[in-house]
Subunit: 349 residues, 4 copies
């Protein structure tokens, strides 16, 4: 029997309806660079889903890329972006923001979330600092929904951040690499229209949520940035056959596929989460979306891979390891069943 | 009847065998970022095709991106890249090289080709310049095969450039966005093993040659650059599901598809070219690969779109326009037949 | 006898009144970074000299630095600066503009001057280019007064450039590294108030015109750039003891010293120029300001250094060399006398 | 009576012997860009003082600039520099390192000092991180001697850092903006030869230690960086009249002036420090070099400026403020006497 694999949420290609559409439209002739009909239609679908009829929507290829290009386009010289120390742009994008000339101003997170009160305090101190003309100017706030630990900002938290941004002249950017799994979570109360109202820019992740690749960057208010098309081109982020992105997001937003994918994966994650708890494991973080973070003894961490692949996350102390299991649009019922069964029969000892 | 469309070589999706493989492998689970088996197999196929068993092969997504990342990885601080004034990196990549901190040192081309003698002369002058420590240091030469006008460097020309680079301590980089159409051209005498011997880096273009997207960057000699993986990540150029690139290049190089695509498209371009000449048009450049550049009167330029879409290229003088027609892996016989027929019946007047 | 030295215009320290003031004010205590009284006074003097009471004036340290920081501050992402191929920023600043992410868009010069007609034609073509969203956006024009060959833009030429900039949405920047020698030239009809009216930014050079170091960057219209202070800080261009710059420019502009220095050096250059002509040499460029460019036979070029040091400029052909002799605020009558005498007695053969 | 001013250590121009030499050499003619005899002599003096006969010495203008250019020259693409969160490059250089494309990897300090154990632990974790190819590569460690709170690394601490750097393949860079005041401190046991042995690069600060401006960057081992001259030129950091830097450092190192300046200023700082303690104030940090950080009640902080200017540092809590007083080469005995007297007579209440 092949080993179960829960090591990431981008193990497979794409949801079947996406592949079908790509095949079906393969021999259409179209303009390049996103100027085609499919891209325009997908933009309309996204504007509708966000209740933001004036929104600018740009399709890019991957998460690090959209973070880099979007944040670069939102910052002026000497400006920086505020993020928690565990933020994806702070740690796992190889310094892409800095390579474009901007500092990531790191604040401590609470379970990886940025608290509006922390932002407010830090900005208040900064505004009173006599040396602030010798310092990077905070101009943008980066958060991710769900965040790097799979946790959700509530609408109240998001509103508080939005308010703090307003007070201090900052803009708000939301990384939605796994947004489907936020939208599909029972606890979630932040909708796409909420994001469009509260954020200056956000993206709807495709790569981890059912497309082969592709992210939809949304600027709810037109004119937010100048020359985004050329900036994307300059950064090597403009796909020649842009319609591939349009076709995939049509598949996602024409009949609610994006929503269904999110709900299904979160439900699977809950089953995985419960199975670990039933096996006596603690969780490093509560399971709100599609990621599960059990704390294992070193012995358990050695045994788990015999049944299912997970990814190593961190060592909280000598003797224990946190691992991460991710479900996704591609997680099969049978695989979760098998994992639950294996955990139930005591494979972790 | 739908209008014929020869406006570019990336109008459609991908060659059918590529789409079939993507569909067939869609639900395989694999590691990300090009660390999967398909990518490794495709690398092996490319190493074999290049007779370069030690070569490092990296898959990236698009042409501007691979130029940007590769050239950045090949240059040290204060170094620049030499290119002709009509070079793609000089004009049509929105300043991507400069955005990464490096100057494109432009030399005049001959039909868009860089002459070894010009390079040699320019470098000799530079080496004697008493102010050269106050100047950008030439370190790399950029050429494209075929070039922006569809023209080919011969093996002799390439060897001469290689020699000039050696003499002056430069490295040579070849942009192969349309390499299939060079390899498939009757006049061509430069093989993949020749490129691997004569260039320090080159890429085998996929986007314009039959894949959905994707370019294979080849460093024939290992150790040419450090940390390419991380540099690509930093530039947003690392595809999460890297196996999509591997699968597509497997399709291209497993049974000679890349070669067949090139030959067929060049043959079609010849027919288009001859039809324009038979209709009394001059060509701005000889037709060697998949691009045809007829010189039209303004009146002819107004009539052509009624039958077939081409792209505007330039105005050589008041009264005339040069347009470009491109064939590709997707060009249908019937379309070329129809265009030849239309030109034969005097639609240009 | 020590050899005569005309190899550059920054051979000595500074004009005596400058040194006296630096010594006299040495033990004053003042705020740093240009926020002191001397700097403020010098700014007022410059605003008055430019008839630009609202102008923002920033003091920086050297020419390459002020070009880099000013041009960076004037360009947005994807924008480039137009300059002639012989422009200082195009050739002799080691790629400083590109290191900051921007392309220098080079146009051929006429004796190193940019013609308004060339600018207009190039911009008109660019505006009609269907691919212009894939290209660097021209946004700024760089010229130098006097230019790299010591030649002057007339007021009419400057107005024509200003008009072309207006028509095409460009801003105009004037490098005044040797501005004193333009202002002091008999042919010159461009005043400081003219510059303030016609340029969006320019600098009044100190280093080559009588100060130890220092350049005064003028933005005639306030609000032209945002956060210049912080941008300068970020580029390492903010002098801690900024008052040193203020004190030096006070010396230059309080009683007309800057003007007197320019006139005297140009007069000396005329004597040098005439002496070469009298000795039978042609000039590569007419002598308008403080630089003289005689064309020498190789034999003459070997002999000249026995009497006077010049700097090598270029070889127009085998058999000849162009050299450059510069006069400056520090050129002694006696030295020019000696050179004239030596040339008169036939040292060049 | 004028107010006493202890607000910074760059309030005045330069030490008298420096000014005298600048005046005396003012009309010498010399080569530019540091290629003159004074610069070469000053380099020899510094090599001798550092017992590093092979060292490369480069003179630059200011502290932020030398940090920027040196660190840029020491880092390859995707590499970052480790510094404490209170490090000058982390906070007060307006993001200069990031503007050049590199991340400052911040670690918490202990009184602003980096502990070797923290560095070792952080690097060990990083080396074990499975995602490290997606992360900025630590390559360099930045510390300052004395640090931002005026505190000293002991030789033992420096050796431990050096060892940790060796183990983890890092290089060590020491910011010596106030190095004279470290060398002149009674507690100090780190000599210039120690720095040359233990650091890969460091600079000897001039601006805050007696020169008008200027810092001497030392690479103890030749070949540490390539093309430093051109990199400095590109960053606008090459002074045209480089001999001004040479002359000033000759003054500093010919007869021990640099050492005497440091000792005198530290002695003055001790008197200031004791006076605050005698007046019942706590110190936020012990006084080791030329900076004193008394903790004042808000009422005291309001009164102090009536006698002496200090700079605001931070608010540790509501009700208190930390201020900074700096002594320097220019601090007059009489001023310290007056301050001590005033504090003794209870001006703080």
């Amino acid at each position: 029997m092949e080993k179960l694999d829960f090591s990431s949420d981008y193990l497979e290609g794409c949801a079947d309806p996406v592949m079908e559409r790509l095949a079906r439209t393969n021999h259409e002739k179209s303009a390049g660079y996103g100027l085609d009909g499919h891209s325009e239609h997908a933009r309309e679908l996204i504007r509708a889903a966000c209740a933001a009829p004036e929104a600018e929507v740009h399709f890019l290829i991957g998460g690090t890329q959209v973070n880099e290009v979007a944040i670069f386009s939102l910052l002026a010289p000497c400006e920086g972006v505020v993020a928690v120390t565990s933020g994806h742009i702070s740690v796992h994008e190889a310094g892409a923001i800095e390579a474009d000339g901007h500092k990531v101003l790191e604040l401590p997170g609470h379970d990886g979330k940025l608290a509006a009160a922390d932002l407010d305090e830090c900005m208040t101190l900064w505004e009173k600092d006599g040396n602030r003309d010798h310092m990077v100017q905070p101009a943008l706030v980066y958060i991710s929904q769900p965040n790097e630990y799979g946790l959700l900002y509530s609408r109240a938290e998001l509103k508080a951040l939005h308010r703090a941004c307003d007070v201090h002249g900052l803009r708000l950017y939301v990384d939605g690499a796994r947004l489907a799994y936020a939208l599909g979570a029972p606890e979630n109360d932040v909708t796409l229209p909420d994001l469009a109202k509260l954020a200056d820019a956000f993206y709807i992740g495709g790569t981890k949520c059912g497309t082969l690749f592709g992210e939809a960057l949304v600027f709810p208010r037109p004119g937010t940035v100048r020359r985004f098309f050329t900036i994307a081109k300059q950064r090597g982020a403009l796909l020649a056959k842009g319609r591939l992105l349009g076709v995939q997001f049509e598949a996602m937003f024409e009949d609610g596929l994006y929503g269904r994918i999110g709900q299904a994966a979160v439900a699977q994650a809950r089953r995985v989460s419960r199975a670990f708890e039933d096996a006596g494991c603690e969780l490093a973080h509560p399971t709100q979306t599609n990621q599960v973070f059990p704390v294992l003894t070193d012995e358990q961490a050695r045994r788990l891979p015999e049944v299912a692949l997970a990814s190593f996350w961190e060592k909280p102390d000598l003797g224990h390891a946190v691992v991460r299991l991710a479900t996704s649009w591609s997680t099969a019922d049978a695989d979760v069943d098998a994992l639950v069964r294996a955990l139930g029969t005591g494979i972790l000892g």
